[in-house]
Symmetry: C2
Subunit: 512 residues, 2 copies
Amino acid sequence: MARSGRRGGRGGMSARAGNKIEQLPWSQTHLPYTPLKVVTEEQLEQIHRTSMRVLSEAGIRVMSETVMDLFERAGAIVDRDEMTIRIDESIVAQALETVPQSFDMVARNPEKRITMGGSAMNFGLVAGPPNTHDMINGRRPGNHEDYCNFIRLAHHFNAVNIIGNQVVAPMELPANTRHLDTYLANLTLSDLTFHCTAIGRGRALDGINMMAISRGISIEEMREVPGVVTVISVNSPRLLDEAMTDGLMAMAEHGQPVSITPFTLMGAMTPVTLPAAMAQQNAEALFGVVLTQLVNPGTPVLYGAFTSNVDMRSGAPAFGTPENTKANIIAGQLARRYRVPYRTSNANASNCVDLQAAYETMMSTWGATMGGANLIYHAAGWLEGGLTASMEKFILDVEIIQNMKEFMKPISFGEDELGLEAIKSVPTGGHFFGAAHTMERYETAFYRPLLSDWTNYESWEAAGAKDALTRATELWQQALREYEEPALDPGVAEALDAYVIRRREEIGAGEP
Amino acid sequence: MARSGRRGGRGGMSARAGNKIEQLPWSQTHLPYTPLKVVTEEQLEQIHRTSMRVLSEAGIRVMSETVMDLFERAGAIVDRDEMTIRIDESIVAQALETVPQSFDMVARNPEKRITMGGSAMNFGLVAGPPNTHDMINGRRPGNHEDYCNFIRLAHHFNAVNIIGNQVVAPMELPANTRHLDTYLANLTLSDLTFHCTAIGRGRALDGINMMAISRGISIEEMREVPGVVTVISVNSPRLLDEAMTDGLMAMAEHGQPVSITPFTLMGAMTPVTLPAAMAQQNAEALFGVVLTQLVNPGTPVLYGAFTSNVDMRSGAPAFGTPENTKANIIAGQLARRYRVPYRTSNANASNCVDLQAAYETMMSTWGATMGGANLIYHAAGWLEGGLTASMEKFILDVEIIQNMKEFMKPISFGEDELGLEAIKSVPTGGHFFGAAHTMERYETAFYRPLLSDWTNYESWEAAGAKDALTRATELWQQALREYEEPALDPGVAEALDAYVIRRREEIGAGEP
């Protein structure tokens, strides 16, 4: 410790050869503070009222006869020619009555059970990029090996609570069956819950079935505590396509949670003003929430938000902006108004893992966490506006997540912590390094960072002057070396393999 | 705009040749949200009560007979042998009655008047590093040319509201008169208020006199609206040295504001527990606040905070940590309890301008801004734990400050902004790029970043694949080219020169 015996710091990994990566233990983080508010209660009601008029006057277009039937039976005004559904507030209110305020999810490891709702906070692996990047191998189209490595990293780092939709697309595998390969990787290389691809019923059902097999339970039993989740994106403005609604219905029928997430970039998919964007997002999200309850009352559902802005000079999407940060907080206010668990993201728009990637991610992360999000999707590895999954960004994000988790850790306030005697025990101008009060606590007193290097300049320079990006490159490689595959019952492994083989044959050249 | 005419984005400065740097206009930012709370009201009282016992039972050591006399007259228990002053809560309470809840400051440009107090928020240039660094010239000891360039940058960018104590030390100039050179640079190269070095009375008085000359008023008249501020650091634990108290008294006698800032790194200068650190910081800060009011009741004063932690493995200071972030917020709760304007910082511990510098600065910035700080000191340019002023970090910080200022910008909530008609005017699955509602607002709808590049990957690569650090290097050079020295009345310039020449002779080889 410190002055009684400096260890030469930790300037780079070389000084720690043989040391395993330190990280926070697995835990369910809770927001211990009052969530931030960006708009007043009256402004929130203005957004609500506007969104209700969007639903009753403009409506949502849905490319599905089944959905139109469901809404018609619920009392909606359905325009079959235009495939547009208009609902009034009473239909929304009735659906909200059956939405669970909170639900749990678990995969095959009961210790990694997570809660969606209340003050619980969970972070997800980035989902959906076609490309992957790291500083060793460069930028390349997604492939199965990279996919597996990301799942290993997500399993290794406790900061990641849930696997999102296809961290990178394994482009070399057939498009109609690659979901089977990714589910199998999720279930064998990790013990986390994951996102089912819900483009069509088949992909959703395969995820549900395989998760049930891995837990050794039936899909009926999995209604009790769901094991998979899906995200239904609204094609904003006001459009739900058929494949998405089919996936939504498959999940809801089986009691598995759905996040309804309008993709609402201000100036492109919504009006350019934030109140209007929030009103449109709210209308679209609540419409999806209603649909889940019409399919199966009591279906766990998340109020999803993805409102940011575009660069009005180029039309390119921007994330981690001040407007995105406000939207993350307002969406939390709305979700709490309706008592629906809340999902958002903490994206950035940088093309490489640089200062911009860090500060934009921090902006959106603060909006998401202090906005009261229960699920922060895309939280680890998102780069290039979501077009690339990055290994170094993953490490940066784990550090950011760990910092936020520690910021959320409640402070003990006993007499010992208030420390009057400790203060009095050290003379003026002295120091507390060797004090008994310090010695008893110093090993666990403060957060120990994953990526930050706190050595002084001279030690840092002597250790190679490695910047955080260089250290991140070392850390993901070290993590892959230290990764241990979670043990899986051989019978379960066989059953999963058999399922995949059978389904691959069934699907053939068709769609799942 | 966007799809009707892409301009190829702004991937790097080359694409903008001839374009001046865009930035936010000068403005007084206010926190429009409820400040964050990390501790409950009861916990806040526990910190308060503990700090009162520190003051009455342990006391503060002060190396000044004058200060001991002042406190003795106020009813304190003064131990002359130990030079220790013990005060009870009634003395603190009485002093707090005369502390202004808010005060204004201004230099020679009345449009750049700033408020310290209430919800007002101001950002300061980094203060005190012995070294400077940029990516063109590398790391070097501070010098007068670099000093002047930082003042030019601070003047150029509206994000910076106030100049801190010696942004870099001009090491080549004589130590006993270099404060005159730096004040002269502040007053000729910028029109901002600044920090007087208060190591001894002479340096403080020179700053007060020169600011008064530059404003064309007497130092008596400058009591109305102060023009300079100083920071008095407590040598924690519980020690105030004589030079600092002399400077404090000189400022207070002339009605110029003082920030009392204990330097409290947990585990080194305070106990390792956060409640104890806050109690000790609170005792030390309030002691200094009392001193200002004993010298001159009504002296403007800031409650200063600088509580972070050390790396318990190396003893090195750490900033932008979760503990630092919590401390920034708790200190705000304390300052508001006492109705004293609040100063803190948003430091980081990185040795270079990298991911770590960005995310640590963001952590501490969120704690400082949402903690309700009125003055965020060291906000632009801080690197290496305060040992280096960095040009690229300055640009990064201006971007961070601008992001926070935009996040603080209130949202308009009229019918037009709620945009029901705009939403209804675009068909499902369409887009809002060309909508009238968009066209009327798109130029000012969103924050336009200084440093962020939102072009897509291909455009970014084609423009040289410049990361944010490279762009920052270009931006500070461009800013120095675009910088315009603010006009100064020739009579004032002459008077300032004459003052400096006279004082240089007076000081000679002695101390000012």
